[in-house]
Symmetry: C2
Subunit: 338 residues, 2 copies
Amino acid sequence: MSHTIYDIAKAAGVSIATVSRVFNKAESVKPSTREKVMKVADRLGYQPHVYAQGLASKRKNRIMMLAPVMSNYFLTEILRGIQDCLASHDIELNIVNISQDSRAIDQVENIIKKSWAEGYLLVSLHLNEEELSCLERYQVPISLLDDYSSYFDSVSFDNVEGAFLATDYLISRGYERIVILSANPNAIPIRERLAGYKKALEKSKIPFRESYVVTGDNMERDGFNEQSGYEAMRKILTMDPMPDAVFCTSDIKAVGAQKAMRETGLKIPLISFDNLSISEYIGLSTVSQPMYRMGSEATEMLISRIRNGESKSRHTQYEPELVIRSSSEKPTVKHEAV
Amino acid sequence: MSHTIYDIAKAAGVSIATVSRVFNKAESVKPSTREKVMKVADRLGYQPHVYAQGLASKRKNRIMMLAPVMSNYFLTEILRGIQDCLASHDIELNIVNISQDSRAIDQVENIIKKSWAEGYLLVSLHLNEEELSCLERYQVPISLLDDYSSYFDSVSFDNVEGAFLATDYLISRGYERIVILSANPNAIPIRERLAGYKKALEKSKIPFRESYVVTGDNMERDGFNEQSGYEAMRKILTMDPMPDAVFCTSDIKAVGAQKAMRETGLKIPLISFDNLSISEYIGLSTVSQPMYRMGSEATEMLISRIRNGESKSRHTQYEPELVIRSSSEKPTVKHEAV
DNA sequence: CTGAAAGCGCTTACAG
DNA sequence: CTGAAAGCGCTTACAG
């Protein structure tokens, strides 16, 4: 039904090799020949068959982003960075969702095995070192985003410092009973943020208490969801004595936490983590991650590895910035219940 | 570096045709032969080369979702539906982002031309009939999601009825100066929602006023963003006389609108549209779209067309449901400014 | 139930 | 600057 390189070659009165060269932007084609071929190709609506190209050339001009797409707003920002970077390189992007149902590493391995792409961007997957080491044998360029490992290039965020800044800010405002609204304790970002929280307490000689690590019951997406934030905040608001500030481990959880405060009419100053696009609009004080830049940086790394095949892995870590809005303010009036 | 079908054939002492049959689940292979092949394949970590398979078989077992990924929360829900449906069919999904920068139809056409997949899911693209008609000549299964056209299968939502319900509810609560917080007037969903809004006014003999269609200035994603909602609401709150209720065309815009109300300390009852996962937590009354079901339904349609090649196009339209939360309540106390 | 062989639509040394 | 030809790794009638 669609035309092949033979059709074009015949119609243009050249060999298929020449048609191929024209489409691969080879320099060595006489301009007049090139034009002749292009004219025919345009008229017939010719498109090279991607599978055939891939098979013959062993190239694919394509990278894949593997990510838990469900964990959303955060990824959106990252994606923008990736795409803007790609646009300037004429490389295509495929996005594949890694579902939370089955083991992430199995899904990743299955995809990489099939060698669809020239490189892979593993976003927020937080595979462990052992799992990542399995991937090494495929000898394919891989960059980690929002993650770290010695095995591959990585672009990460200083979660420890971010959590430290947030907690330290709360301490500087005079709060002492500061809880951390946490999530799955085994998740890497949580471990790091907890460490930063502890570090800030330590600096000010405030004792760490296990009971001040509060988690919701809903563990979807490792507990990074609204409901989990809501549940945890309900618990916090019944503690006695009631904590006087909370460091919340993600903006999306803070959305749930805010609901709990509205419902009960109680309000505690809160700082969270991410700085999503909605956060500005709901007044969240938060630790800002440069998601866009992280996306483009990781992509740049991946491309350079594909093109130049560097030897040792490179790592970039972005530093946090505190954005103060209304959620961390001391409640002057009692908040009205809704 | 990686093994080919020849390596497996040789190691298993069979022909490559037999190996191929084993991997394609052909019935006609003796169980003992199958086992022998599988054992070797497992040991050598063999994976068929996808491009070669695609080239030789002219099949791909793969569908592609084309969507403006940036328009996010809404898509997340849809995606879950798609994936759950796909899982039961052993078909792979690729997600390709259609950027808002350049013409959507060009991007779509470019992808379809390359015939990566056996079928395409066009989500929230709102191409016009003329553009869609261009796609017909590629003779490939296409389903539209969150969109409608006579050319292709479609799963859509009754935007008119949804807007009608929301507006009618506000009227039933005694409001009369009801504005519509709108977006790009050329966007299909906006046109339909405006029509539903008008229909409700008409039913109650409330005159429609052009000045009650209020839009923000930020037109990213057709104005479906927080900032645009914020801007529009600021305008609304300075109108004289001030409107007494607002029908907001999307939840994400409502997030911005709520900020405007908090800032000014003024509050107007509001109903919006979508029912995103955050909406419950920020108390939005809204028109609920069954996004998950829409996703799986559209996928089911696409697969059946791929497998059976139906003749005429089928269309499913989902009906709205009103979810009433706190945002549509009459403000009793003046809202405190933040 | 299995194999030999043609063919899918390209790319790329090689030769000229 | 261009062409003939081999080859990429599979699938699938066809024959047995």
